[in-house]
Symmetry: C2
Subunit: 418 residues, 2 copies
């Protein structure tokens, strides 16, 4: 069968959004609640309106575009992802899923297809944890699982609090609880995303059907040593917080390698030194550990061992250490019904697909406990993501959008309520 | 003999300046060219004027207060230090030397002492390297050894360039070369400073007579790995710039401990991670190494071995590394004449003193190749410095100011020209 998705139009829209927050070096930066994220949301809202959809924003700034269905009173079939990015990120992570939703409603209009359920294109805000150390802010808000006090008090690298950032984005922090929706408003949620790994590339499959989303444990580690003059403090008398933190960073790497298996990963992506002067021995160092696994117990063992190693290093070096565990989540299974529907769709369309686990977290994992949710992956070149080098050829995106469209239509036929 | 220095007045002035840029936690922050440094310079200028001194600022913002001498045409005897601090620094490092200069001219007025040479109290700007990675900016400018293009292009943690910072401080970058003076304008320079180490405390001496100032080698190291998604990139495929940098930080510590002797020190006080997000493997890490020694050859061997270790770590981990060496200085001897005069003064005043080497860099080391320069140290409690915990009891400061005053008067008698 020939595809209904318009490849040129899809490419045009990807180019359009890649320019919002683009750096001269080719990366894209649209941090949570930034002017660049707002600009992307505004452009998407205009495009959805131009397709005749009724758009609205909720209290945290999530964008919804609604195309009514034929049968009155049915819950919506939702499709989308997010428009924010990490600093110096790529053009696909998030934006692809929203732009694919736009393409789906464009095809429905062109082909005169009337669905039974309403179709809603959604752009969740603040999916990336890069700015405030908390991710999936928009999707969590819609299902009432956002830790609002923590977000309001969190601070970005420039010292701006979550509360200030929300206000700068024109949002009222006190109104955020009103973003929570009811399960009966949603028939299902579908998210198309790049894989951000190498599984599909290695297996030469066009589509990944996500069965589970791995979850992470995050450790916030604060090392307190002693700030002294770098020129006058003999080596044996030092309590250097950065030297201690450096050992701990290596202990994360060693522990994951020793205790983990292929999908186990551990990363220190953030490390800050205080006071941060060339002639002062660091008095403090703070860093964030991110451990992920699809096996909750193994993840717990790795996180436990990392904490033991950190404590032993601190003890030996005579520095204090404080460890907080802001996140420690279970892997999330996605909807079996949706997984089956995607699989059947791939078979019908004769597109090579395989079931897989997502190592990265996604908005869909927060919707999943609340409403049937599924994810469709397309390959990422060399597995690159959260980087300006993130890439998937346009021709490899089209099957993903086609599967998204067809799955949505299949779900529209079979879903009534849940 | 009884001291002429007024202990209460000295304490009052130290308290006054400790409040400028004070944090609620007790530290002092007056970074180079900051509003806080300007405020301190302004207050000192008012105090010097109130003593009847003629004040002026040069093109980089150094403050001079001049008390004319009896003999016409003689070069000035200069006394002073700096008023800027590291972030979260102490109240003595720098400020003591300038406040002591103020106390000296107050005693001269009270006692009706007319010197032969003019006496100049000086507050050099930007002695601490904390903001732009370059120190002793003001004193270097007066002797024409400031690397102006490097300062103008340097950036602080907020991305503000040296040129912008100068302009914000009301200075014209293009006018900076005019700050350079002629050797014949200066008869000698004396700097009173806290030791910032534990030598005097351990030896139970009131005064340290500095014979040499250790110099530093600075390495700027840039590690270039590969930014990838922290959840989807298997451990063996990573090129984590922070993990590599962590090994290098530990290699600095190990190398100095293995090759150095007591005064050899090596520190990484600054480390920055890019992009710095909890869910992104660091693609870049940059850090600064500070190696100090009084033995130039040993310092060179340590710096060389550190570079070899850095290269080997980079090679093994498959990351790129770039090392720049912005500073690689020889230890600086201070004036033998001034050292002898300080020693004779301590004997006359019956104050226990010893000759010693300064591990820290100081403005005096930049003046020394240009005009006779000397330094007087007073003890630091537990050797703490570059920290809010920096402390010396007021009663232990008074002998230092007294020796400064008496040495200045002795130099006034013996010095004609050089």
């Amino acid at each position: 069968m020939s595809f209904r998705v318009n490849q040129d139009r899809l490419g045009f829209e990807l180019d359009r959004f890649a320019r919002i927050g683009a750096s001269s070096e080719g990366g894209v930066a649209r941090l949570a609640f930034s002017p660049e994220e707002r600009e992307a949301l505004g452009q998407m809202e205009s495009l959805l309106k131009a397709e005749g959809l009724a758009t609205r924003r909720d209290a945290i700034g999530n964008l919804f575009g609604r195309r009514e269905g034929a049968a009155p009173g049915l819950p919506a079939l939702r499709v989308g992802s997010h428009l924010d990015t990490v600093p110096d990120g790529g053009r696909f992570d998030g934006a692809l899923g929203v732009i694919a939703g736009l393409e789906v409603v464009r095809v429905l209009r062109e082909q005169g297809i009337q669905t039974r359920h309403p179709i809603e294109v959604v752009a969740f805000v603040g999916e990336e944890a890069a700015r405030f150390g908390m991710g999936c802010l928009g999707s969590r808000a819609t299902v009432g699982t956002l830790n609002l006090p923590r977000l309001l008090a969190a601070r970005d690298l420039r010292g701006i609090s979550g509360a200030e950032a929300l206000r700068q984005a024109g949002l009222a922090p006190e109104a955020l609880p009103s973003a929570a929706q009811k399960p009966r408003e949603i028939a299902a949620f579908l998210e198309l995303h790049i894989e951000q790994g190498r599984v599909l590339e290695a297996a030469q499959k066009a589509i990944g059907i996500v069965t589970d989303v791995a979850n992470y444990t995050r450790l916030h580690v604060e090392v307190i040593g002693r700030a002294d003059h770098s020129g006058t403090t003999p080596m044996p008398l030092r309590r250097d917080a950065l030297a201690a933190a450096s050992e701990m960073v290596l202990a994360v790497e060693e522990t994951v390698t020793a205790l983990g298996q292929a999908p186990s990963v551990g990363t220190v992506g953030v490390l800050r030194v205080d006071p941060g002067a060339v002639n002062v021995i660091p008095g403090r160092a703070a860093f964030e550990v991110d451990v992920r696994d699809i096996d909750f117990d193994r993840k717990a063992r790795i996180a436990q061992r990392i904490q033991e190693r950190i404590a032993a290093i601190a003890e030996r070096r005579g520095v204090e250490v404080q460890v907080a565990i802001p996140s420690d989540g279970h892997p999330v299974p996605l909807s079996a019904t949706v997984v089956e529907t995607i699989q059947k769709t791939c078979e019908d369309l004769d597109i090579p697909a395989q079931k897989m686990v997502s190592g990265a977290g996604h908005d869909a994992m927060h919707i999943a406990p609340f409403a049937p949710a599924g994810m469709i992956f397309v390959p990422s070149r060399e597995g690159r993501s959260h980087s300006r080098l993130e890439w998937t050829d346009l021709a490899d995106l089209v099957p993903g959008v086609e599967v998204l469209l067809e799955t949505l239509l299949q779900l529209d036929k079979k879903t009534t309520d849940h």
